[in-house]
């Protein structure tokens, strides 16, 4: 029987997949037994949501942009008639045939290890996870391997922490394992706070069992019996699916006492974050689990020695744990075969911003930025000019298009001044103002600074004030030197990663785009026509229909024009409030 899988992750749902799912439900009710209806996670092609897969045996057809109307067509043509609806096919996978469909180029360059099950299985079904070889690694680890053997495999695989810092995972595990203590903890950092990154959300929503399995294996390796998943509250769906997965794993005996008859006990609790970016820093995260304000503390002692509740703790992020079961089943060598010499394996990137194909992509480490943006991302929206890519969120930096050949790995990216981070890649085009971008990130870190270190608390505020006045056309010639000096001091004198990296977005844009800062300060001009105070609002005569809505709404009566005639903004009166942009139904108002 044909199976219909509807992508029901947050990205799918916000594109309207619930309506699509409901339509298939109605169609199924009208023709009982004609197909099997399932929900699935995110396959990564967020730009083509809602996605629907029709599966029959080994043959799989993924349709993109499936509205309820398209669902009707698919039902009539494909499910009843057996004819594939070619015009909506995004991907076509058939045994013995090359990958087909409009999105084949997006998928071809990918290697899916972390995302191996995302979008392919029903994340709420343990049986489906088991059907793809799930919990085989756990069986192996608990029944056939000693803790040091597990650690050796993880070490040999070359896996490095996927949360951003890239610390070798096997080595980290060995530190926690070597501690003598009756109580140890395994913590999973699912507080994916970097704006622009959503890999962990997709894994938790699409394949929660892979993370649970990785954590239990880690527990066995370091001798811990208790795990915590610290998940941010902004991901309600991830928390819901994790809860279902944990219950199912407990019921099936993959969690609890005497797991699989091995005599090993382990259980996991979900802790919901409460909205604080700094809690992505491990010592702050522990404080938060302990019910306190999430403020980082000095290291050493490192978490392997004194972590959660002052006990030895191993903390990794979602993606790191999701790699572990695959490595144990397929072997360290198979994993190490991907990537570069020092950065082994694959990495999931979240492509967003001004890129055509926004979504998730898992590629071998070392792929050049250009390949990610153009081969997988499909290039820049509206075919505008590629200007820069922002990596590592507020802790990272902007890498200019001229360095697009840089391979993405733990050595090459930091050399540019940015960081790998957790894998968020926000692509920018010539309409993005780099000064405004730096101001945006500083605004974020300033807001999220926990306030413990003076340089981070006060220094970021001073930097923000300077950047704000530059974007408002009140920059002073000495501002650039001030920003550089403050940046260096904040990096030097902050305790945790948040403060140490907060100036990065400013310092990298100063390094690669100094002319933009100068244009703002000296010429009072925004080259990207983005900073409102430095641009003029205009009406495109081609688009304006003379509906008079903008003129009626203008608070200073700066817009003149007769009904059904092109309107004009008098820039000498215009207060640059932007109201006209928000009320125009034809998108005719633009900034120049």
């Amino acid at each position: 029987m044909k199976k219909v899988l509807v992508g029901m992750s947050t990205c799918g749902l916000s594109a309207g997949s619930q309506k699509t799912y409901d339509r298939f439900g109605e169609l199924l009710a009208g023709a009982p037994g004609s197909f099997e209806l399932k929900s699935a996670g995110c396959i990564g092609m967020c730009y083509r949501e809602p996605l629907v897969e029709v599966r029959e045996g080994e043959s799989r057809v993924v349709y993109g942009g499936v509205t309820p109307d398209v669902a009707n067509t698919i039902f009539n043509e494909h499910i009843k008639g057996g004819r594939v609806v070619e015009e909506h096919v995004a991907l076509r996978m058939e045994p013995g045939r090359e990958l087909g469909g409009s999105e084949a180029p997006h998928q071809k360059n990918q290697v899916r290890i972390v995302l191996r099950n995302c979008g392919l299985i029903d994340p709420e079904s343990l049986a489906e996870y088991e059907g793809t070889g799930g919990y085989q690694a756990l069986r192996k680890a608990l029944l056939e391997m000693k803790p040091d053997e597990i650690i050796k495999v993880v070490k040999d695989s070359g896996l490095r922490g996927r949360g951003g810092a890239g610390f070798p995972t096997g080595l980290k595990w060995s530190f926690a394992a070597s501690q003598k203590s009756d109580v140890k903890y395994v913590v999973c950092n699912a507080d994916e706070g970097d704006p622009g990154a959503f890999m962990d959300r997709s894994v938790l929503e699409g394949d929660p069992h892979s993370v649970i399995e990785g954590m239990v294996i880690c527990g066995k390796a370091i001798g811990a019996h208790k795990g915590y998943i610290y998940c941010r509250a902004e991901y309600p769906m991830a928390i819901r699916r994790l809860t279902i997965a944990l219950d199912a794993a407990r019921e099936k005996g993959y969690l609890g006492t005497n797991i699989l008859g091995s005599g090993f006990d382990f259980d996991i609790t979900i802790k919901q974050g409460a909205g604080a970016f700094v809690c992505g820093e491990e010592t702050a995260l522990f404080q938060s689990i302990e019910g306190k304000r999430g403020m980082p503390r000095i290291r050493p002692p490192f978490p392997a020695e004194k972590g959660l509740w002052q006990k030895p703790t191993n903390n990794n992020n979602v993606e790191t744990y999701a790699n572990v079961p695959w490595i144990l089943v397929n072997g360290a060598a198979a994993y190490a075969a991907y990537g570069t010499e020092k950065s082994r394996g694959t990495k999931v990137f979240a492509l967003a911003g001004k890129v055509k194909n926004g979504g998730l992509a898992e590629v071998p480490m070392g792929m050049p930025i250009n390949d990610l943006v153009f081969k997988i991302g499909g290039g820049i929206k509206e075919d505008r000019a590629f200007k820069a890519v922002q990596m590592g969120g507020p802790s990272g930096g902007c890498i200019p298009a001229s360095l697009g050949h840089t391979p993405v790995d733990f050595e090459s990216i930091p050399a540019t001044g940015a960081i790998m981070g957790s894998g968020g890649m926000v692509v920018m085009d010539d309409q993005t103002c780099m000064v405004e971008m730096a101001r945006f990130f500083l605004n974020f870190t300033q807001d999220e600074s926990c306030g413990k270190c003076t340089f981070c608390r006060v220094g970021t505020l001073r930097m923000l004030e300077i950047l704000t006045r530059i974007t408002q056309g009140e920059g002073r010639p000495e501002d650039i030197d001030k920003l550089k000096a403050l940046g260096a001091q904040i990096k030097e004198a902050s305790l945790c990663g948040l403060g140490q990296t907060a100036p990065n977005p400013v310092l990298t844009t100063l390094k690669y785009f100094p002319e933009e800062y100068e244009a703002h300060i000296k010429d009072k001009r925004c080259p990207a026509a983005s900073c409102t105070a430095l641009v003029d609002f205009c009406i495109d005569p081609e688009k304006c229909t003379g509906c008079t809505v903008c003129a009626k709404n203008c608070p200073v009566d700066a817009i003149k024009g007769e009904r059904k005639a092109v309107h004009v903004i008098d820039t000498s009166i215009c207060a640059k409030c932007g109201k006209c942009v928000t009320v125009c139904t034809f998108g005719a108002v633009y900034k120049k």
């Binding site: 990154a197 409460a274 604080a276 001004k354 926004g358 926000v426 932007g578 942009v581 928000t582 125009c584």
Partner: protein, 173 residues
């Protein structure tokens, strides 16, 4: 099963069951907020009384985390995303539009108590940017026009429901 889970998460149950286990403060505050829609002054008193954590410390934790609110919220809480991806896709204009449509500023609540507007730094829907959440529903690929349409739809539905309520009350013998 669902009812047991709901009870286990309820504020009163959690408070009653509290056994001195460390780390319970944040879950307690979260269930208080679920229960009341915000954290009222008296809930701080209950929590402090039961746990023995000084009220000042409870207040410190509340104000540290952006999730917690000390004021009542509207029936619909709008979280307009201003993460990086949304920001480069002009989320500022979306936020301006919501402010204009509702007549409130960020962190404000409309007079009829229907909407509270807040901003968040990324809800992880970056490829559908710009996005906003209204309660637990995510709306993606927004434009000023679609935002107004969505908000007016919520308003319209609410007014229809109120009219229906009023009508059914009138019918009562």
């Amino acid at each position: 099963m669902v009812t047991t889970a709901a009870r286990d998460d309820s504020f009163n149950y959690r408070l009653w069951r509290y056994d001195g286990a460390p780390g319970e403060l944040i879950p307690l505050l979260q269930s208080a907020q679920d229960h009341f829609g915000y954290i009222p002054r008296r809930a701080i008193g209950y929590i402090s009384g039961v746990t023995g954590i000084p009220e000042s410390e409870v207040y410190g934790v509340i104000t540290f985390y952006s999730q917690f609110r000390l004021q009542p919220m509207g029936k619909y809480v709008i979280k307009a995303c201003d993460g990086t991806a949304c920001h480069v896709q002009n989320s500022r204009m979306i936020i301006d539009t919501i402010e204009d449509e509702l007549g409130v500023e960020v962190n404000g609540t409309t007079e009829d108590g229907l909407f509270t507007l807040s901003t968040v730094a990324c809800i992880g829907c970056c490829s559908l940017a710009p996005v906003m959440m209204i309660n637990d529903d995510t709306h993606g690929r927004l434009s000023p026009q679609s935002v107004r349409k969505i908000l007016r739809e919520y308003r319209r539905r609410e007014q229809a429901a109120r009219a229906k309520d009023a009508a059914s009350c009138g019918d009562r013998p």
